[in-house]
Amino acid sequence: MKMGMVIDLEKCIGCRSCMVACKQHNAQPPGTWWNRVFTPGSHHHLTPPAKGIEFFLPVHCQHCENAPCAKVCPVGATYHAPDGAVLIDFERCIGCRYCMSACPYGVRQFNWEAPEKAHQRAGYQEHYRFGYPEDHRKEGRLVYAPLRPKGVVEKCTFCAQYRDKGELPACVRGCPGKARMIGDLDDPDSEIRKLIRERNAFQLLPEKGTKPTVYYLPPKAKEI
């Protein structure tokens, strides 16, 4: 089993629901966004960079097979789960941020201060908490906590806390256009492998040799 995700850019309407679902479910502190949706070529989201050209690009951890972040981590806090997902052990991370420099996708986020303080600074209502409320361990390692320790790195886990219960990641469930799909990359007959084959799927920065397990299906040109 090798986890993979396919994002159909033809279906993506740039609504950023996945961004918000991800932020909510994973209790991300202010300023932290594991999942981001942009309008490539434009400085403003949902503003076409040129007439007739508009598509959207969701970007989060690409769960690379040859993940530079896992290779540089001095203590093995960033590691590959048996299904290939790249996870961070919040109890082992020393916060050196080497992985943040090494990641070409810019998806790794640091806890510059305690989340409670970050909430306060951003003016959140007192004691307001959101997100999956319990710690989640995978083979004994703390891969999700609603309140992250100050000084550790975090990023998308493909919602490890939900997948381990047989549920889909929040972004997949939250997408109104059903543009996202997860599946088994090892199985040549899986739905995602079929889409990758038939729809000319591409990866981000393939030239970096990171072997992402997130694939994008190119959108058709818009009719004007």
């Binding site: 070529g41 960079p49 001095p74 305690a114 000084g151």
Partner: protein, 409 residues
């Protein structure tokens, strides 16, 4: 102990203590006290690592010159070389601590080391170099460990002969680790395929050449301050100045070589790098080239070497130039977002994906594709404190241990 020495110890010691307090405060509040954020995740502290590692090369230059190349006139300065090396390599390890989010968990480096990580290699080689520098210094001091210090001396029949033999044996090992600290510190950056500014095979040899230049300048400065600029060591100073000048020339060649190759092909990434390096930071870049070159050239002049203020100013200019060079490791790496693309249907457009800052900056967007980093007050205080630590350690050792040749001490 002279009054000047006492005051210098007091001031440097106090600065170091202030840095410790500042670090404890930063530990409590988090790295939010720095001006770093997600898209610009290493700053002054890691530049400081590269700076101190470079300064530590003096011991290598002295020991290998004396024992591998037979330059005997440098022998009286060998202990100073080993001492400045030890002070700087330990300072290099200290300056990493405030950059670590959870330093309390550093034991994980021992329990779960990931041997693929160049950071693990760096920690190993820095520790080995610190240990071997301390050992080398001890061996060199052995014949002079008399009086109250005699209880620290290992009992051997012929301390002078023993010291000479073992110094000769340790020198090649020290050389290996000494080259190792520069190469591996450079690899931390240059193995990162994500960052075009760093991803260059020229970086490791460049680190070695900068280090030989600045490390030797540190020893020259320390020697001139300790022994003055009289006739006695002029010969040795001249040799050191020559080593400094040649090393700086090799460094500038390696740096320019890299820039020309980067710039010539002129792809979009390189355009962005050159924009940052020669646009926003043009003056800093001019300084990082001119200051070490001018400093090294001035040190070649005999009248500069014969005047303490001139020698100190020239060596100081070189060291500051190298510091700026170390600071400039970061901007062109972090302000050039690796995740760039040519959007479908828009050939010729080079678009960078902004990064969530992870911090709340009033008046600044959460998503940044460039960021004007300047170190915060606490970063500066901590860096100055670690510099003061290196000075304090060198002065204390000179005051308490038989570091300087007998006739002057």
């Amino acid at each position: 102990m002279s009054a000047t020495m006492k005051n210098a110890l007091r001031i440097s010691g106090a600065l170091f203590l202030i840095a410790i307090v500042a670090w404890l405060y930063q530990l409590k509040e988090g790295l939010v006290l720095t001006n770093l954020q997600n898209s610009y995740s290493w700053g002054l502290y890691i530049s400081g690592l590269a700076f101190f590692v470079g300064n530590a090369a003096g011991g290598l230059v002295l020991s290998s010159s004396i024992y591998l190349f037979g330059v005997k006139k440098l022998k009286p300065l060998a202990k100073l070389g080993a001492l400045t090396a030890f002070a700087n390599v330990t300072a290099a390890m200290l300056i990493v601590l405030p950059d670590i989010g959870k330093p309390i968990r550093l034991y994980n480096m021992l329990l779960h080391p990931n041997f693929m990580s160049p950071l693990v290699w760096d920690v190993i080689v820095l520790n080995l170099y610190a240990a071997v520098s301390a050992l080398y210094l001890y061996i060199l001091m052995l014949p002079d460990l008399t009086g109250p210090l005699a209880r620290f001396a290992v009992k051997v029949a012929d301390p002078a002969g023993f010291s000479e033999t073992w110094a000769r044996r340790i020198a090649p090992v020290a050389l290996l680790f000494a080259i190792g600290i520069h190469v591996i510190t450079a690899w931390i950056f240059s193995t990162q395929g994500a960052r075009d500014w760093w991803f260059s095979p020229a970086m490791a040899p460049d680190f070695v050449s900068v280090a030989i230049g600045v490390g030797t300048a540190v020893v020259l400065l320390a020697a001139a301050l300790a022994y003055g600029t009289g006739e006695k060591y002029q010969d040795a100073y001249q040799t050191l100045a020559l080593i400094v000048f040649m090393a700086v020339c090799v460094h500038l060649f390696l740096m320019m070589n890299d820039l020309v190759i980067h710039a010539w092909f002129g792809d979009a990434e390189t355009h962005r790098i050159m924009e940052i390096a020669w646009g926003d930071f043009a003056w800093a870049h001019i300084f990082e080239v001119v200051a070490p070159l001018a400093g090294a050239w001035l040190l070649l002049q005999e009248r500069v070497r014969r005047s303490l203020p001139r020698l100190a100013a020239s060596a100081g200019l070189l060291i500051v130039g190298v510091f700026v060079h170390r600071f400039l490791i970061m901007p062109a790496a972090y302000n050039n977002i690796p995740m760039t693309m040519t959007p479908l249907g828009l050939p010729g457009v080079h678009w960078s994906l902004p990064i969530a800052s992870g911090r709340f900056f009033p008046g600044l967007s959460t998503f940044l594709d460039s960021y004007a980093y300047a170190p915060s007050f606490i970063e500066v205080v901590i860096l100055l404190g670690i510099m003061a630590y290196a000075v304090f350690l060198v002065l204390l050792a000179i005051a308490k241990l038989p570091i300087l040749a007998k006739e002057v001490s």
